[in-house]
């Protein structure tokens, strides 16, 4: 029997990895991918807890997370395309027009 905490530790590690990626990568697409990793980690947490509490709501939330992630990915990628068209670069440091 696998204890719940194992799953949660995995989830934590995945989340930290996602954070790392968001923070450290200089490619917009890779940043988006890191966000997906984080969302994935959260999914794991929900399902694990749902199984633990014998509640089906855990999985239902995962549904919605996946759906919203899809929507967010779509819009995010559209933005990346638009930005790329503008600057020919995917480096977030290239977009600093909002600098004071």
């Amino acid at each position: 029997m696998i204890p719940l905490s194992n799953y949660l530790v995995v989830s934590a590690i995945l989340f930290a990895l996602g954070t790392c990626g968001v923070f450290m990568r200089r490619n917009l697409i890779t940043i988006l991918l890191s966000i997906e990793i984080m969302l994935n980690a959260v999914n794991l947490t929900f399902v694990a807890f749902g199984r633990y509490a014998a509640d089906v709501n855990g999985q239902i939330i995962v549904f919605f997370v996946i759906t919203v992630a899809a929507a967010e990915a779509a819009v995010g990628l559209a933005l990346v395309i638009a930005l790329f068209r503008h600057r020919e670069s995917l480096n977030p440091d290239a977009f600093t027009s909002l600098k004071w």
């Binding site: 954070t19 968001v22 923070f23 977030p92 600093t96 004071w100």
Partner: protein
């Protein structure tokens, strides 16, 4: 009915103020005079009614409405007539009417709208003065007090486009204000002590008390009130505004600064006679200041060269007499002198106005002379009034001044009596110097040209627009100007030569006073002779009816409900005790003779010097030039005030309050706030680097911190 007395002039003010522009001179001047005459008629009726009441109930009261009702502070707008107020309203309305009539002719050269403005102010002044004397409690009196101060400012600065006039107006108002401040403090002290500000109630509360020894609260309060009176009535130390007030039109000087406003202080003390009687320390101060002022002003008046200034200092001096009387407890004598002084001083001022009018604006007596031939009415009325003020027996001034001196001597204040006699001598001398220099001899043009450095001559400008060719009231450029506060001699352009040459031509064309002016002069001259007889003292066989009439006012006996104990405690109001009537009578006669001799001596000295041997005056001036300069420059009091008070205040205001506080603290706070915000923003805006990764980094740092915080807890 009492309310009508001030209401008539108030109505005149309203009409002239709002519609004056469209009214012709005849209408606005006539209306103003008419309302004054109406007020006089009502006053006469009221006094007649008053006289019909028994002596210890001579009060008519009318409470118009409750002005302030706040817990235990209740003030009603009460008008009250008692014997003292009766005298005052007759003086104000009677002499006021005459002056209004005189002004219709005197101010004739003004533009219609200015003419109406003048009369509106004059009526307003009369209304306020009447409120002052009819007031039944301190606040109502104070309303009138402030109001006449305001009108004084408006009228002194009537020709406000001339800087010296507007400066003089401001000076009058500010100096008055200092007195008013003390007056308010006095009122507050009285309210604290007595819980009421009604005159009669205060009198009834204070009457059974023993007079204070030392400086108790009554003395403090009355002293503060007296300081207010020094401001209003031009005594030391707040008299400096009165000579400068001669910048205003001459009828204004006659009405306000001779007959009525300046007497408000004397009236106030008379009104509170019972109160003041219980503060002997204050009365001592009053008498001392009165005597000192009388003497000082007399000395200054001796050397002045402007006809109106001599009269102004004469007014200050005579007011000193009135305060001397009040200070020694002779309240009736003080009021008597107020009443006679109103007649002859107004006559003198109006006469000088007629002279100035005839000479088209000339005011320096060194440029006059020989006017006796050309201006007979003016001359004779002026002479009669001068005899009255000098104290020649038989005329009004003699009786009133003599009564003051008698009372002073009788109360034991010998030094004050000596000062009084000395001032009497000076009065006679300077007045007749004025008469002789102005009317006798030959026409001279001795006033030096303005470039003369040795004569530091303060000259008041008046009627400066009366050049025949100049119909507008822009001040003629060719009169000597003088800044109202100091004795700085600003050489004007070639002033006195032009009118001199004009005057040579006009000597033959000098016209005496026109009918309106002459009427006023004649009536006042008659008054100067006859008015004194109601105060004819016992020693000469009279009954001194005035003193008897006034006495209930000063003993608090003239109340609506005559209290039993009040009447017998008659503080002496000018009547000798019946017990020693005989020796009192002979003392009085002796003193009378003394003062007559002094008066005649003064006239004699004046005629000797200025009629026969003018060079003596000039030689004395040259030999005692230090003293002469001191007197000519009014003991440099204005300069002293300027240096000691005005200048430090100015410096403190500029350096301390303006540059120090306003700029550094207030502006500093405002600008500093902005600077702080700006500086803070400059630092904080670096957060907005535009770099998304930096924002993300910040986000995660926050997450870690919050998580850590909750775990730690």
């Amino acid at each position: 009915m009492l309310a009508l007395i001030p209401l008539f002039p108030l109505l005149g003010f309203v009409i002239n103020a709002f519609f004056g522009r469209r009214l012709s001179q005849v209408v606005s001047g006539g209306l103003a005079s008419l309302v004054m005459l109406a007020s006089f008629a009502v006053s006469t009726m009221v006094v007649w009614q008053l006289a019909g009441l028994p002596a210890d109930q001579r009060t008519i009261e009318q409470s118009l409405y409750t002005w302030i009702a706040s817990d235990d502070f209740n003030i009603a707008l009460t008008l009250r007539v008692d014997p003292l107020a009766a005298v005052m309203i007759l003086v104000v309305t009677g002499i006021g009417s005459l002056i209004h009539i005189y002004s219709t002719s005197y101010m004739h050269d003004e533009v219609d709208s200015e003419y109406a403005r003048y009369f509106s102010y004059l009526n307003l002044f009369a209304a306020f003065m009447l409120i002052l004397v009819l007031g039944g409690n301190f606040p109502v009196l104070f309303v009138g007090w402030e109001g006449v101060g305001l009108c004084s400012y408006l009228l002194i600065g009537f020709w406000f486009k001339k800087k010296s006039a507007s400066d003089a107006g401001k000076k009058a108002f500010v100096v008055n204000r200092i007195g008013d401040y003390a007056f308010i403090l006095g009122m507050l002290a009285l309210f604290t002590r007595f819980g009421t500000l009604d005159f009669q109630r205060i009198a009834t509360i204070v009457a059974p008390l023993a007079p204070e020894t030392g400086f108790g609260i009554i003395s403090v309060a009355t002293l503060l009130l007296f300081i207010g009176a020094t401001g209003k009535s031009a005594q030391i130390p707040l008299y400096t505004w009165l000579p400068d007030a001669m910048e205003g039109p001459t009828p204004v000087s006659a009405l306000i600064h001779a007959a009525t406003m300046v007497t408000a202080g004397v009236y106030m003390i008379g009104r509170n006679a019972v109160l003041f009687s219980h503060a002997p320390e204050t009365l001592a101060v009053v008498a001392a200041i009165g005597a000192a002022t009388a003497l000082m002003a007399g000395t200054i008046g001796l050397v002045q060269n402007d006809i109106k200034r001599v009269l102004a200092y004469s007014t200050v001096s005579q007011l000193g007499y009135m305060f001397l009387a009040m200070g020694v407890g002779a309240f009736g004598a003080g009021i008597f002198h107020l009443y006679t002084h109103a007649f002859f001083k107004a006559c003198l001022f109006l006469g000088s106005g007629a002279v100035i009018h005839a000479l088209h604006g000339e005011q320096d007596i060194r440029n006059m002379g020989g006017l006796k031939r050309h201006l007979p009415i003016t001359y004779w009325t002026f002479l009669i009034a001068s005899l009255a003020i000098a104290g020649v027996p038989g005329l009004a001034g003699f009786f009133s001044k003599d009564e003051i001196l008698y009372e002073t001597f009788r109360e034991g204040h010998t030094i004050l009596w000596v000062i009084g006699i000395l001032t009497s001598l000076l009065t006679a001398t300077y007045m007749f110097r004025l008469v002789f220099l102005t009317f006798h001899g030959e026409r001279r043009h001795d006033a030096p040209a303005p470039e003369h450095p040795e004569e530091q001559e303060p000259v008041a400008d008046d009627d400066a627009h009366r050049q025949a060719s100049d119909a507008s009231h822009r001040p003629a450029k060719d009169e000597l100007h003088r800044p109202a506060t100091g004795a700085l001699h600003r050489p004007a352009k070639d002033a006195l030569h032009r009118p001199a040459s004009d005057a040579f031509h006009h000597d033959e064309h000098l016209h005496d006073a026109p009918p309106a002016m002459a009427l006023a002069l004649i009536v006042l001259a008659i008054g100067s002779v006859a008015a004194g007889y109601i105060g004819l003292p016992h020693a000469l066989g009279g009954q001194n009816s005035l003193a008897g009439w006034l006495r209930p006012s000063f003993t608090g006996a003239a109340t609506l409900t005559a209290p039993e104990g009040a009447a017998p405690e008659a503080a002496s109001a000018g009547e000798p005790e019946t017990g020693s009537a005989a020796e009192a009578g002979s003392l009085e006669l002796t003193l009378m003779v003394t003062s007559s001799i002094v008066a005649l001596l003064g006239i004699g000295i004046a005629s000797f010097i200025w009629l026969k041997r003018r060079q003596i005056a000039d030689a004395a001036a040259a030999r005692l030039s230090g003293v002469y300069q001191l007197l000519l420059n009014k003991y440099y009091v204005d300069e002293l005030y300027d240096a000691a008070i005005v200048h430090p205040i100015r410096v403190i205001s500029t350096e301390g309050l303006w540059r120090g506080f306003d700029v550094k603290v207030v502006d500093g706070a405002v600008n500093g706030t902005a600077a702080i915000v700006s500086g803070g923003a400059a630092v904080l805006r670096r957060l907005q680097s535009g770099s998304v990764r930096a924002y993300a980094g910040g986000l995660f740092v926050g997450v870690v911190l919050i998580l850590g915080y909750y775990l730690w807890r």
